[in-house]
Amino acid sequence: MSLKMIVTVKQVPDTHNIVGDAMKPDGTVNRAVLPTIFNPEDLNALEEALSIKETVGGSITVITMGPPKAVEVLKESLYRGADDVVLISDRKFAGADTLATSYALKCAIEKLGDYDLVLCGRQAIDGDTAQVGPQIAEKLGINQITGLVSVLAASKKSITIKRQVDDGFEIVRSKYPLLVTVNSTANEPRSPRAKRVMAYKNIDRKFCDESYVESYLGTDGAQPSPSILSHIREWNVESIGADALQCGLSGSPTKVKKVQNIVLTTSDVKQVPNTDVGISEFMRELMDEHIIG
């Protein structure tokens, strides 16, 4: 028996390098100012899976739920060492909150069949909730350990983990099946491997030419070697056996009522002259107002 691992990854807008308003006046996301990236902590989750595979052996399947464009993060995962990848894409998933997102991912994981360890990033940088991981675990009915910062020991039966908590760390152990969420401090994600980039470059290009329902793609007609994935599987609501009512907007109890862009409020900043007198008067002012004593 070797360890079967599933990593969930999300393509996210690069919220930390925004120029302009993140939201349009109609309340939808202003994609034009937001380039998309691999959610940073999902790279840490993938890296953790890769290093567990190196020590214990096993296989890694990466799944993402998103628009067809999200195949980019799957391709990235293949470059870095994932064995298999699955795209879950359907218009019916649109508008999902964390409950509906975790439901869809749970259905996809069950469709994949047997698994020992599910690895999620701690948090996605757009929704910023950190809720999806624990909700997948609850829906699968399995144990969870959040905030993984290192794996101290892993065997084919159980795993010992150091997790970050508010006032320090805990060393905990659990048997499989288990879901973990991985912190950014856990590791330094490896770079894509040139060989793998060569092997999988085409998988995406060909994918884009296909219709977006259930496409199976070959690599350039060449005979695929057993270690090379020949196609990216794509699943929709039906193929994962999900109840459409529990997906997307209809399966989401939370609704966004209002969205506001953060605009810097230009306060009337008092310029303090950078001179002995200027600073001396300023310190006096703070003392007079009892701000400093």
């Binding site: 919220t15 930390h16 925004i18 993140a22 964390t98 409950l99 975790s102 757009d126 929704g127 910023d128 950190a130 809720q131 991981g133 624990p134 909700q135 675990a137 609850e138 829906k139 144990n143 969870q144 350990i145 959040t146 905030g147 010992t160 997790r163 970050q164 908590v165 508010d166 006032d167 320090g168 760390f169 805990e170 060393i171 905990v172 152990r173 659990s174 109890p253 939370t254 609704k255 966004v256 009522k257 969205v259 506001q260 862009n261 953060i262 810097l264 306060s267 900043v269 008092k270 310029q271 303090v272 950078n274 002995d276 600073i279 001396s280 300023f282 310190m283 003392m287 701000i291 400093i292």
Partner: protein, 337 residues
């Protein structure tokens, strides 16, 4: 008051004491409950922590459901989440609040998933209001206000059809009320009926790290950014802080570089502070930093770049080199006192 309804708070206890955020949430729940004309309840679990629960009353909690079990001494996701689900299912609060701590963020999503409820993360403000959805008007709904998209937007989230509405709130965001020692809480003991098989996580060791600084409680904070992170400038920052009777904070890259410990970090992924005086030394003022300090009563920014974003939220701005300005401040202060 409708005593069959309540605003419930999950009480976090680390085996030694109740988390500060739980008391802050009781204070906030008291305000929400007043508007809804309902009471404040709580759910707590652990082993032999009953005496610590008394103080919940001082902040306005009327009743706490308490599960005492040796197996609950250490946190474990499944048992904690199942117990909360059980209490919520039995006593049907309208609203349930959790601290957005590691523990709160671990179990709240599990509870929401099991009960199929809406859960809003990291709220910075909670209000009671109305929500119109199609033809239906939902009154007395919890309006949950939270930053998202890396702090670039503020969203108001509602879960009008979800009973209860659930939210998490970070430590330090809600104000702690004034303790009234004449008010008492009723402790209702419940038993934990979970089978041993639910306790799937073995805790092998706990490593506590004492905080080296209490930023949250500080009235004066002098913070160092990358423009004040070399030995000389950081030394000046520390000296200014001790001279004024304050503490030292820092931006994330300064903490990441290792010259300040993690609990000195101010900002979205650090501590949210509300001091009387915040002096930002060589800090550019990116959104993630501002998220943690923009509520300070007085913000002083010292930066060599007159266009640094920090100046747009500062009350006082001094343009120039920290190495030159801080000594002038220290000198001026010492001359006056």
């Amino acid at each position: 008051m409708d005593i069959s309804k309540s605003v419930m708070v999950f009480i976090e206890h680390n085996g030694e004491k109740i988390a500060e955020v739980s008391l802050e949430l009781i204070s906030e729940a008291t305000k929400l409950a007043q508007k809804l004309n309902v009471s404040v309840t709580a759910v707590a679990m652990g082993y032999n922590i009953q005496s610590d629960l008394e103080m919940l009353g001082h902040y306005g909690c009327k009743k706490v459901y308490y599960l005492n079990d040796k197996r609950l001494k250490h946190f474990s996701s499944i048992p904690y989440a199942k117990n909360v689900c059980d209490v919520v299912g039995r006593f049907k609060p309208q609203i349930v609040l959790f601290g957005a701590t590691v523990m709160g963020r671990d179990i709240a999503p599990r509870v929401a998933s099991q009960l199929k409820c809406g859960l809003t993360a990291d709220c910075t403000e909670l209000k009671i209001g109305e929500h119109q959805m199609g033809k239906k008007l939902y009154k007395d709904t919890l309006l949950q206000i939270r930053p998202a998209f890396g702090g670039n937007i503020i969203a108001t989230i509602v879960s009008p059809e979800s009973v209860p509405s659930m939210a998490t709130v970070r430590e330090g965001v809600m104000k702690l009320g004034v303790a009234d020692h004449s008010k008492a809480v009723k402790i209702e003991k419940l038993s934990c009926k979970l089978p041993d098989e639910d306790f799937m996580t073995e805790v092998l060791d706990i490593i506590r790290e004492e905080k080296s600084v209490d930023l949250k409680g500080a009235q004066i904070i002098v913070s160092a950014g990358m423009g004040a992170s070399d030995e000389q400038a950081l030394g000046l920052v520390k000296y200014l802080a001790s001279t004024l009777g304050g503490v030292v904070g820092g931006s994330r890259p300064v903490v990441d570089s290792g010259v300040l410990a993690k609990d000195h970090q101010v900002g979205q992924t650090g501590v949210t502070v509300r001091p009387n005086l915040y002096i930002a030394c060589g800090i550019s003022g990116q959104i993630q930093h501002r998220a943690g300090m923009s509520d300070a009563k007085r913000i002083v920014a010292i930066n060599s770049d007159p266009n640094a974003p920090i100046f747009s939220i500062a009350h006082y701005g001094i343009v120039g080199d920290v190495n030159n300005i801080i000594p002038k401040m220290i000198k001026a202060y010492k001359e006056k006192v």
